[in-house]
């Protein structure tokens, strides 16, 4: 079975395509969303999901969250004795989702369609693909998040649609796509985005406001505890930001070194501080409209997805931008996973999707570096020459002809870049190829460069020198990314050896982690009360009596709900 997975910054979800419709799969806790968090427990076992997220503020040194932001980079997260890359952590989340799906459907999960932000570059896509392989999934396709949302929307409301805009503001990334539906063809016209704009940035805004009030001289977190304090602030900020979506005012509360601090944040203050972030949403929107040559008046709808679009400030900004109210008919957290499941159904040739086709675009420009002469006759090198322009429908194949630059040149070196800047040093280097050419005066030798880009992100570069008949080919694949299958296998084995907390006990682990967080967040009588509950719960867990455990867990959850309001995902 092929599943669809939304691997998000804050939360992830998994869905499958069954009985002609996409369907979300609940995790061990019965939730449809699984927090993208990994934490190392006291017993040395790794916790994944809600339990790990609850430990973010109590055990920040042993917990990793929002690692998608560092996908494809060298950043390492140290949990206990071992350092993990963002790929490894994502693989753990994916493995946990895979286990949920296998339990739910009773079938073996063989392949997956994983979503990535449309504006993820080649390295980030490669890392995501590797994470899937590390989790033992064959990654059938990486699909862009707004495209997946559009697919969910297109299936949801069948029939032709004038171009509409998908506005996807998630936990860590922001994407915009313009999509059109005609005769069962769902066609993405343009995508644009910002890899570093999402709910997490709005949390930082809340944390900054609160910190300015609570700790104006920044003295609280001296003594090398800065990162720990930051995690505590971040966890509390998330809570306040969610409260601000519903009320005009919300309290920000933390307990730090045995002392309670609180601050009331008004929605107005938050909106003002978030203004620079709201301004950053304009650029990708403008770019996608320009690239697809569609005016705002030509859009039939603005479809909102992503958890951060619940914020009233974002909704207002979007309304002002387009001069109309956006469409909220899709579930902001579920749409992307559902769309991924539709793509999985397409891949598995599900009969219900026989009349549906999807065409996507390559959201960035691919090209090579060249040299040219400026008007004064000086040679300028490092000028980007695009070959496949962004928002070209994929699969695509394009050829450009280049000439030699220097007399008696013996070799042409072609560097392959991805990006939008005219100066190649600002773009991402994907690969290199060298081709010998017959030495002739400058400009007499032509070199043909052909780029072929397919839907799963495989770039093939063919270089051809017609004068000598010489041809070279390089394949730049998102699949291997320099790692051989053996290396992947070795890393997978290493990950598989890690002790992961058993899935059956995930519910108890989550409750325990939540209780511990509450213990840290409250003082006085209530703290003592929670402490007693934790002790009792641990005692029951020791005795391994399923009924007693279930009973007590429900009591604890109810008590915690009373204390701090219902838990959220």
């Amino acid at each position: 079975m092929i599943v669809g997975i939304d691997l998000g910054t804050t939360n992830s979800a998994i869905a499958c395509f069954r009985d002609g419709a996409p369907q979300l799969i609940p995790n061990a806790l019965g939730d449809l969303l699984t927090p993208s968090a990994v934490s190392l427990g006291k017993d040395g076992a790794l916790l994944v999901g809600l339990a790990a997220r609850e430990r973010q503020s109590t055990h920040p040194e042993a917990t990793a969250t929002a690692f998608k932001r560092h996908m494809g980079t060298r950043k390492r997260y140290t949990l206990g004795r071992r350092a993990y890359s963002a790929e490894d952590l994502s693989a753990l989340v994916l493995a946990s989702l895979k286990a949920d799906a296998e339990r739910f459907t009773g079938e073996k999960v063989t392949g997956a369609v994983i979503t990535v932000p449309a504006y993820f570059n080649d390295q980030q896509r490669k890392a995501t693909r590797r994470a899937g392989e590390l989790a033992g999934l064959k990654v059938e396709r990486l699909v862009n998040e707004p495209t997946a949302a559009a697919l969910a929307y297109g299936i949801h409301e069948r029939g032709d649609r004038e171009p509409f805009l998908v506005f996807d503001l998630g936990g860590g990334t922001f994407d915009v796509s313009i999509v059109e539906v005609f005769d069962g063809v769902i066609e993405v016209r343009a995508s644009a985005g910002d890899n570093r704009l999402g709910g997490e940035d709005f949390n930082d805004v809340v944390a900054r406001i609160a910190r300015a009030a609570i700790d104006p001289e920044e003295k609280l977190a001296a003594r090398g505890k800065e990162s720990l304090f930051h995690e505590v602030l971040r966890a509390a900020a998330e809570r306040s930001r969610r409260a601000l979506s519903e009320a005009e005012e919300a309290s920000f509360e933390i307990v730090w070194e045995g002392q309670a601090y609180s601050h009331r944040i008004s929605a107005a203050a938050f909106d003002e501080a978030a203004e620079p972030l709201l301004q950053r949403m304009r650029d990708p929107v403008l770019r996608s409209l320009r690239d697809s040559n569609i005016a705002v008046g030509g859009l039939s709808d603005v479809v909102m997805v992503g958890g951060a679009t619940r914020m009233p400030a974002v909704r207002r900004a979007v309304t002002r931008m387009f001069g109309r109210f956006p469409n909220h008919s899709l579930h902001p957290d579920h749409a992307v996973a559902l769309g991924a499941a539709v793509q999985a159904g397409l891949k598995a040739r599900d009969a219900a999707l026989d009349e549906i086709r999807l065409t996507d675009v390559c959201p960035f420009t691919l090209g090579i570096d060249t040299a040219m002469r400026d008007p004064a006759g000086r040679m300028v090198s490092g000028v980007f020459a695009p070959i496949i322009e962004r928002n070209t429908v994929v699969p695509a194949s394009r050829m450009h002809r280049f000439q030699t630059m220097v007399d008696q040149q013996k070799q042409v070196e072609i560097n392959i870049f991805q990006g939008e800047a005219r100066d190649v040093s600002e773009n991402v280097l994907l690969g290199q190829v060298q081709v010998p050419v017959p030495p002739r005066p400058a400009g007499e030798v032509a070199v043909d460069v052909r780029f072929s880009y397919d839907a799963s992100g495989l770039l093939e570069v063919d270089v051809n020198v017609p004068m000598s008949g010489l041809a070279r080919q390089v394949v730049i694949s998102s699949g291997d990314g320099g790692d051989s299958p053996e290396e992947i296998e070795a890393r997978r084995a290493a990950l598989a050896e890690l002790k992961v907390h058993p899935r059956d006990e995930a519910v108890n682990a989550a409750t325990l982690a939540r209780a511990e967080r509450c213990y840290e967040n409250f003082l006085g009588d209530r703290r003592q009360h929670i402490g007693e509950m934790i002790l009792a719960f641990e005692a029951v867990l020791e005795r391994q009596e399923p009924h007693a455990i279930d009973d007590l867990r429900q009591q604890v959850e109810a008590a915690l709900d009373l204390l701090e309001g219902e838990r959220f995902l």
């Binding site: 005769d183 063809v185 931008m321 387009f322 009349e355 086709r357 600002e426």
Partner: protein, 329 residues
Amino acid sequence: MSASPWGLLGIARTSDDGEIRRAYARALKAIDVDQDPGAFIALRQAFDAARMHAAQVAARVPEPALAGDGPEPEPRAESSAPEPEPEPELEARPGWVEDVEAIQALIFGDQTREAIFAEVGLRAERLLNGPEMEQIDHAARVEQWAVQVILSGIPRSNALLLPALRRFDWIQRYQKWDCHPAIRAVVGRYMDCQLVNDLNDGKGIYAMPFRLIQRGTKPRGSQVTLVERFLAMVRSEYPTVLQELPPQSLEAWEALIARRNNALPARFGQARRIYWAKFVRFARRYKLDLVGQVLFFTVATLLGLGLVVATHGLALIFLVPALVNANKK
């Protein structure tokens, strides 16, 4: 791909966009894109070509029936005359229309540059930071208008240039490979202004020739090489700076430069002209400027004189005693 797009789409030649799209959808469902990407690429090329054809036909015969829905083609007028202004709305005239009209009237009016600068700046700030600018299509229209007014209003549009440059982030756009030529021209204009500022502050070797032309002092032969080089640089790299210079003064200098370039070698005779040309080539090769040329001439003359004096001196020292001795005998 030499086959006609219509054959691949399986329809007769048509200008009906809907029919082309239906044919494309039908053909797309018949192929497996993952297995045969080549077939998709060919189909897509055929689709794009067919739609291009349909759009061209539609452009030649305007169809009023289609005007109601779908995006209207952008009025991308390339003429140097400014657009009237974004179409005012039918109900109450919004505040920004007044600013747009006033800025245009000031820039294309006949007051002096200095007199309009402050007011244009003030109105531009208000226009560009108004609440309507939140709306993306309004902002896009204002941007287009601003580009045209700035480019056709050089050099009087500087007061609009700065706030617009900041508001629309043109510098950042300029660094992209696909920057619109008009925006590239506007940023070029901004760089020219930066050069003028530097020259006004007396920075760089060209501050002096710039001042000479700007003040309109009577052209002097001693400065002519530097002025000539300054003008050549400006022409190739900072073209709009020419419009900042007083035209009469510029004309006078250019006349002098032309006179010198034509007349100077002619003053020497036919034979000497060749030497002159050789020397000019020599001076160019070693990048000698006027001072260098004079210095080189002086040194060369001194050396020549020295040689003559030295040989004559030798003759005097050796020959005269010999002659005296011979006489004595």
